[in-house]
């Protein structure tokens, strides 16, 4: 067993884990963050995406021991009293059907907007290429992300004037 210590959605966790434990299983089974699903065995689907030290990672492709000392944000840590703008936009733009891809899609979108606050439609599509959705056809997902980018830009313009 190896000792790990990390902050998950602002709460500190300390545990002894087997080195083979994947971060996603630590999040779900030890830390109770079942909002983060597992969708594949090949690192392709992106359903498990979380932020690690501020950038997106696929939590099925990180060992819990590799995340020792890290700051993790899951979909459950994104809302701050009220829905995060991305959560609201996904709801209002009908950007999900079964919802299985949604937690990863929203975390990947949060990373995308951190990296590039004013993306073009093509940049949104490229930024989300690691996240598969088998229901929506992506159209409304892209719309939701562009809407949040537009809102953020509007807020900045408002604050500046």
């Amino acid at each position: 067993m190896n000792h790990v210590s990390m902050r998950i959605d602002g709460v500190r966790y300390d545990d002894d884990v087997e080195p083979r434990l994947l971060l996603v299983h630590y999040l779900r089974e030890v830390a109770g963050r079942t909002g983060t699903p597992v969708g594949c065995d090949t690192s392709n689907c992106g359903a498990c995406t979380v932020l690690m030290n501020g950038v997106s990672v696929k939590s099925c492709s990180v060992l819990a021991v590799q995340a020792d000392g890290a700051e993790i944000t899951t979909i459950q840590g994104l809302a701050n009293g009220e829905w995060h703008p991305l959560q609201r936009a996904f709801h209002e733009e009908h950007a999900l059907q079964c919802g299985y891809c949604t937690p990863g899609m929203i975390m990947a979108a949060a990373d995308l907007l951190r990296d590039n606050p004013r993306p073009s439609e093509q940049e949104v599509r490229d930024g989300l290429e690691g996240n598969l959705c088998r229901c929506t056809g992506y159209q409304n997902i892209v719309r939701a992300v562009l809407r949040v980018a537009g809102e953020m830009a509007g807020e900045q313009a408002g604050a500046a004037s």
């Binding site: 190896n2 087997e18 080195p19 083979r20 994947l22 299983h25 065995d41 090949t42 690192s43 392709n44 992106g46 995406t49 690690m52 950038v55 997106s56 990672v57 696929k58 099925c60 492709s61 990180v62 060992l63 021991v65 590799q66 020792d68 990947a108 990373d111 995308l112 990296d115 599509r125 490229d126 930024g127 290429e129 690691g130 996240n131």
Partner: protein, 286 residues
């Protein structure tokens, strides 16, 4: 699936990492970003007894300028390659190719050292480092050695790294302003591997190609140079037609695989067409 059991150490220095690897012998494996290794462990296609995690060795991260060349630490992530100012200025081929690899979440973890040591014939960076005429710096119990890219990739997913050795850096030449470059990656869906990829660098002089170097991805079990097309391009007019002609020799001497994504003949065709395009773009041909 859940990986089989293994022990895990996180050494604090390159020396400690080499010692841990040497102690573990054949059953020890380096883990850097884990983006290739963890899928293998999860599918139980690999069974190391010991993982030596070099992810914390910040001395192996980042790009430095040395005389005439750039030295890229093995732990520099693919994401960092896309943004590094030295690479963008002097080795655009590497920075540009990095944007075509995997997806953002994978790029945040995946390292250049892992991509080269893994030596997947469909991986994009081996052919790029080959075309650049790069070399690899390797640290082992006996000290450091430097291996040219052409000698590093020895067989399908096999390199000249011995058990106990750590890839510490990649050295690539700084290309002057008279050099152009292009990586042509052919794939049918987003976030996927190259069916064929072509890395080309070309030096242009007086409307002609003075010199060209071409590396091919997925045209054999190891990345290969398209030497016949390189000779044909040298001295050719920097025009799309002349370089298409040179590109038509790109598959000479290759033995591409046939698999679900393409037959060997299809890959030969792709290599010829993509090499013409890559040369034309690298030479700035209209």
């Amino acid at each position: 699936m859940i990986p089989a059991r293994f022990d895990y150490v996180r050494p604090g220095s390159v020396e400690d990492a080499v010692r841990a690897l040497a102690g573990g012998g054949d059953d020890a494996r380096v883990i850097a970003g884990g983006q290739s290794l963890l899928p293998l462990l999860r599918l139980r296609l690999a069974f190391p007894d010991l993982l030596v995690d070099v992810g914390g060795l910040s001395e192996l991260r980042g790009v430095r300028e040395t005389a005439g060349s750039l030295e890229i630490g093995a732990l520099t992530t693919i994401y960092e390659l896309t943004r590094d100012p030295l690479l963008t200025a002097h080795c655009g081929l590497l920075a540009e190719t990095a944007t075509l690899i995997a997806d953002p979440a994978v790029r945040h973890r995946a390292t250049i050292g892992g991509a080269l040591a893994h030596a997947d014939p469909a991986g994009d960076l081996p052919a790029v480092v080959l075309a650049l005429g790069g070399s690899l710096l390797i640290r082992g119990p006996e000290g450091e050695r430097e291996v040219r890219a052409g000698d590093f990739f020895t067989d399908y997913m096999t390199t000249s790294l011995s058990p106990g050795e750590l890839l510490v850096a990649v050295r690539v030449p700084r290309l002057g302003g008279d050099w152009g470059f292009r990586y042509e990656k052919f794939r049918l869906t987003a976030q996927s591997w190259a069916i064929v990829g072509v890395a080309a660098v070309a030096r242009r002089s007086n409307g002609h190609v003075a010199e060209a170097r071409i590396g091919l991805t997925n045209m054999g079990s190891v990345p290969v140079r398209a030497t016949a097309a390189e000779s044909a391009a040298a001295g050719a007019e920097a025009s799309a037609a002349a370089l298409r002609e040179a590109g038509s020799r790109a598959d000479e001497g290759t033995s591409p695989p046939s698999d679900l994504r393409g037959s060997a003949d299809y890959r030969r065709h792709l290599a010829r067409v993509l090499t013409g395009r890559a040369l034309a773009a690298a030479a700035g041909a209209s």
